[in-house]
Amino acid sequence: MNKIQLKLLVGILLTIGLSVFCYKVFVLGFPLVPSEKTSAWNVEAHVAFDGENSPVKVVLQTLNRVSGFAVTDEFFIGAGYGRQRVSQRVTDKKLTNDAYDQNSVVIWSKRNADGKQDLIYSAVLRPESGDKLPKWSPPQQIPELRDPQFTDAETVAADALLSKIGKESADMESFVPLLMQTLKHPESDSNAAYLLRDATGSRGVVNVAVRLLHLSGIAAQSVHGITLGTSSDARISHWLELYQDDSWHMFDVAKGVFSTPVNFVPWWRGDAPLAQLTGGSNLQVSLSVVPDAIDAMKNVVDRISATHPTFFDYSLFSLPVQAQATYRVILLIPIGAILLVFLRNVIGFSTFGTFMPVLIALSFRETQLLWGLSLFSIVIILGLGVRLYLEHLKLLLVPRLACVLISVVLLMAGISIVCFKLGIPRGVSVSLFPMVILSMTIERISVMWDELGAGKAIQQAVGSMAVAVLAYLVMTNSYIEHLFFVFPELFLVLLGLTVLMGRYTGYRLLDLIRFRTFIRG
């Protein structure tokens, strides 16, 4: 009866688990392996300024209509601020052109702002064509030549500058780099210096360059944006878009050469700054562009949820991103547990505490393996020293355990401080290290030491560590993590297998050693 029930249960679990798994893989097309490239970026602009007890208005360029990308999950965070989102013509103030691309800006406003003010704009950028970053595509609207609206004096200076550079160059390919070089180093040319007298930063240079180009008959516009990469330190880079002979030419202002932008996301066009502040002071804008690792699956999920909407209402993907990240870790615990079942019941390892190695392996995730191992060993060795001394004082069990726990916490704090002073930043990453488990381990090792001798105790301690390392290796495998997060139904399969192992009555591998006298003769 029991056996039939067992087989039935295991059969049902395996069937459900595997059929859902197969359905998701073969019908819905879930990927079996994690996508290598992250395909989403979290872009964040942090605007900080000092309010002066007066009305303030902040105009910030936002990501909008980025060709090849979808901009989603836009958030505007500003406590007590009124906010409106408007499309703004690229107003070069004195220039007007209706066919121009439009920028999208957010306007934050407040009647009375005092003290430090923080405003945050964040958005997620996702390539429209799946995992691959889109190639650079030129803007649709062709800019028309406009009156650069120089004053008389400026026109004279501009003409002189342009004719000088014109003489030194052969075509546009050589003209623009020369012009930009002169503008970037205006000290050698008084005309350039005069034109740039009000310009600030590289954006000011770019704006003057655009006006000069229009004066010389080249339709040009400036574009400002960010480069997607892996570093979180993002900066605005400037490009010039020039239209000549029915084609677009991109000029990299920072490098001073014509080239094709790679991984470049245009943020806004025209002469406006990224953020404009009226009514405050000390405006600072910091940018961050972070590849969104959690979101690697999102593309697939979005695609499938469009065709099978109900399917995702009750999956892990319906949880907030933060909870998803937590579950990615939590779902690893059963994997560690089944590994332990295997090691204990099929191999025959014995460890300190049933699931202690799994918890240690989890903490290794925070500290990385080598550092975690050495930290663990150091704390255990020092803790054993404390424990040995406490043995002399003849303390009772619970107070003694508490003493060891306190010593362990002190030891870890000490190690962190020493490591930090020595310039080892890893030493500080111990926040989640399981101190209570460490204390219990120290106690168990020392009791075993007393009872069975040092050899057995060290042997079992090393064994436990080995199991923890093994569990760590399995639990940090990105394929396993992906597999069980995307296909949680596989846990039914694991459950079935564990139930089977629970009724495994065969020999353990280490029984061979135990009963070796029977094998020998």
């Binding site: 069990l397 009791v447 495994y504 009555t505 065969g506 029984d511 135990r514 029977f518």
Partner: protein, 313 residues
Amino acid sequence: MFQWFKKLKESGVVGMNARNAAYVLPHNPRRLYPLVDDKETTKRLTLDAGLHVPELYGVFRAQHELKKLPELLKKHDSFVVKPARGAGGNGILVITGKLGSHFLKPDDSFVSTDEIHFHISNILSGMYSLGGMPDKALVEYCVKFDPVFHGIAYQGVPDIRIIVYKGVPVMAMLRLPTRESDGKANLHQGAMGCGIDIRTGKTTHAVWKNDNHETHPDTLLPVGGVQIPGWEELLRQASLGYSVTGLGYLGVDIVLDKDLGPLILELNARPGLAIQVANKSGLQTRLDKVEAVHHLLQSENQRVQYAMEHFGV
């Protein structure tokens, strides 16, 4: 490697998984465990059923009861302190004599009253109990071991472990303490295991640290061929252990006292498997035989008779 497994299977060796899944779990219901896990309960139970156990001098249930310790120690020169719920022979303190204010351990070292006090405190706080639960400490009669084992036991008390399956004693071994086991009789602590012929009660061959030995490692005297006195009565006592507790797969630990004869030290619901190594024989065939006939064996005497007829070497 698979032929190794096959060889074990052919020898009828019962592995840890098989013991747990096929014998302990089905035949030892959890509700019966307290009867054997708490040595005080076991003592009461076995006394009522006419089994012989070492006399209980005193029980300490809480720290404050330690007040009466000096008075208790005054009355007895030799005694054993053990945790009521201890496992694997841990936490047992044997005192064989008194010298002034100090007490003598079997290895001729001294302990003070304070140290005994601390030891009992540790027992009470659960240091030696399964799962660290608060425990009781028993102080009981220290067995004066039978001279029959003189020369093949090194300090401490040799004991006889008998596996009883559904009331039938299926396998037995003599466990001899060594210098390495610190007077304890557990094989994994370094004691020597010695197979016993169930039919005659004579020791056969010995295993120490998983190797065959003919002599005791400390005294160098041969350990085989020693006749255990009152063997049949010993088997009957072991069989009674099943009648009293109802545990189908039971380990009975018996010591031989010079004056009092066989005394049951403890009953074990999860007896170890090393007994197979000591007897150079697997348990499986014997267990299968008992499985087939146990319903026909109604009394302890019948069960003992069956065992002696069928499980000789």
